[in-house]
């Protein structure tokens, strides 16, 4: 159908688009590994911004941000890891259990609960942030990691994703487990969850990205440097003049690297989870 000259043009376009997509990322990596701040300032003003020669590679920027006491980046990394892992791991149980009850059990009021959870998906975090802040402040949650974890454990959209998948599994599974004498929880744990690994991955990826990159809530709830997550740490490091671009980009590399590594290892699942999130709205 397509002629070879058309195919060539399409391939050229694809490469140009790839270059446009990669250029800002190249700039981040190249700048982070340049040791000479004068060179960085010069390079940012021309096409060298996107490139680094092997001879210029240096880890000076990383060394200096790791030794910064005003911006304890290792603490930020640790905080972000604790926050994201807690939300994802605990959240998966909380949300999948709820979805299990809604999808696999018949009980009074079920349709109501489903309707309410579906309706709550539309409520944006931004519109409940202020009252939530008052509530968290009331129980002394300002400047804590828990305040960045506990409010986000239950997630209506994740319940909905689990619910959809669980509803698609054949009813015979529960019947067989019931006949074999398994309790409801046992069925959930040994029959349903092992079949749900792709869905678990979808939810885990969506939630990790959402909370790793969260900015508004941490800005409101954390003033203490030792409780900041990465996103807030980077934002404040960037906003503290004068900008030292090499160090800012090194900070950005450290923030992006965990996500990039996981992305390249589980690319298919990231794309799958995007399709899953497409039904939101």
């Amino acid at each position: 159908m397509t002629t070879s000259s058309e195919k060539l043009i399409l391939n050229v376009i694809a490469i140009v688009v790839a270059a446009l997509v990669l250029a800002p990322l190249m700039l981040m990596f190249a700048t982070a590994f340049k040791g000479d701040q004068q060179q960085i300032l010069r390079d940012l003003g021309n096409a060298n911004a996107f490139w680094i020669w092997p001879a210029d590679i240096s880890i000076a920027n990383f060394r200096s941000i790791f030794s910064s006491t005003a911006f304890p980046i290792l603490t930020y990394l640790k905080n972000s890891a604790i926050i994201v892992l807690s939300i994802v791991v605990i959240g998966i149980f909380v949300n999948s259990l709820a979805a299990f009850a809604l999808a696999r059990m018949t009980f009074l009021g079920r349709d109501w609960v489903i309707a309410i959870i579906l309706a709550l998906i539309i409520i944006p975090m931004e519109s409940v942030a202020l009252p939530l802040l008052l509530m968290v402040a009331k129980v002394g949650g300002v400047n804590t990691l828990s305040a960045q974890i506990v409010p986000f454990l239950a997630h209506p959209f994740s319940i909905y994703i689990f619910y959809q998948f669980f509803s698609s599994l054949p009813k015979d599974l529960d019947e067989a487990a019931y006949v074999a004498g398994a309790s409801r929880l046992r069925t959930y744990w040994s029959v349903i969850m092992p079949l749900s690994l792709p869905t678990i991955a979808t939810v885990a990826i969506l939630q990790s990205l959402e909370y790793y990159t969260a900015y508004l809530w941490p800005v409101m709830i954390v003033q203490d440097a030792t409780k900041r997550p990465m996103s807030l740490g980077l934002a404040q490091f960037f906003s503290t003049p004068p900008p030292i671009w090499g160090e800012i980009m090194a900070f950005s590399v450290l923030m992006s690297l965990p996500v990039l590594v996981i992305y390249f290892a589980f690319q298919r699942w990231f794309i799958q989870s995007t399709i899953g999130s497409g039904i939101k709205g």
């Binding site: 790839a18 990322l25 508004l216």
Partner: protein, 296 residues
């Protein structure tokens, strides 16, 4: 027998649901209702025992609607949405068509094109700040064609487009993936039939591809619009709403009045109106999708 099992199941079901329902009630439902209540009060962030909170009726709403800041932010946020949504969707559709064509290394390209969307907006803003700065690459490129230099983020005509381009770059992979799924759902027979009838590629695109993607278009446009209305992080990092308020946003109004100025009542009123806008957009989507179903 059946009713005994139903009764027992009801108890078990609510036990299993309890953690989720408890958290949802406490951290979504209660703050949501509280937001509505607080919007009718003069609640402050730091409560003062001498000045108790009292009901003020619609005063917060009237203040927001009569003062210029809220309407300005609403207008600027809508402007952002109107600019970024078509751009981002077109970029997503273009990239999806490219990957869906028979280019080489399709999976590798798809993997690369997806990258911006996994980057944190804070990181993206930081990178683009270095591109937009006065001694940055964009002024170098502008200089190469004999224009500029510009203060991209401090110029009241350029700041909004600068944010739009940056946000579209970060966000388009989402639209790409959703469009890709839509494209792969179109039957190949349609294109073959059109080919036999002598239709050009252009005609096939407008008469087969675009109409077949109708539901995908609605979904993508609405989701992108809602997302655009939540604009905050990149603005807060790059322009703080400036210059002269041209990049102010609704979420920024909620944040500035409710949190920075501590006027929770007014911030809550802004949050309620923000929510109503988001809700209205998603109701439009539901309406459009229902119409689609009504047509046989």
């Amino acid at each position: 027998m059946a009713s005994i099992r139903l009764k027992r199941d009801t108890k078990t079901a609510y036990l299993i649901l309890m953690p989720a329902l408890g958290f949802i009630g406490l951290f979504i439902l209660v703050p949501f209702l509280l937001s509505g209540i607080l919007s009718f009060t003069d609640q402050r962030l730091l409560s003062n025992a001498n000045v108790p909170t009292s009901f003020v009726g619609l005063r917060n709403y009237i203040r927001l609607l009569q003062g210029g800041d809220f309407l300005n932010a609403l207008f600027r946020t809508a402007t952002f949405a109107v600019l970024v949504t078509p751009l981002q969707c077109a970029m997503g559709l273009g990239a999806a068509l490219l990957i869906n064509s028979n280019i080489m290394f399709r999976n590798a390209f798809r993997g690369i094109y997806f990258l911006p969307t996994i980057m944190s907006m804070v990181v993206v803003a930081v990178i683009w700040a270095s591109l937009y700065q006065r001694e940055g690459f964009f002024n170098y490129a502008a200089g190469a064609v004999g224009i500029g230099p510009y203060d991209w983020l401090q110029n009241s005509w350029l700041a909004m487009p600068a944010l739009v381009v940056m946000s579209a770059w970060q966000g388009f992979p989402f639209q790409m993936i959703v469009y890709l799924a839509g494209l792969q759902g179109i039957s190949k027979d349609l294109f073959e039939a059109a080919d036999i009838e002598g239709a050009s590629r252009w005609q096939s695109f407008w008469n087969i591809t675009m109409p077949s993607l109708r539901n995908t278009h609605i979904l993508v446009l609405v989701t992108t619009t809602i997302f655009a209305f939540k604009l905050f992080t990149q603005v807060q990092l790059l322009t703080q709403g400036g210059p002269l308020g041209v990049t102010d946003t609704l979420v920024r109004i909620i944040y500035m009045t409710g949190f920075r100025e501590g006027k929770v009542g007014i911030g809550a009123a802004a949050a309620v109106m923000f929510f109503i806008i988001v809700l209205a957009i998603s109701l439009v989507q539901r309406r459009l999708l229902r119409e689609e179903r009504a047509i046989p």
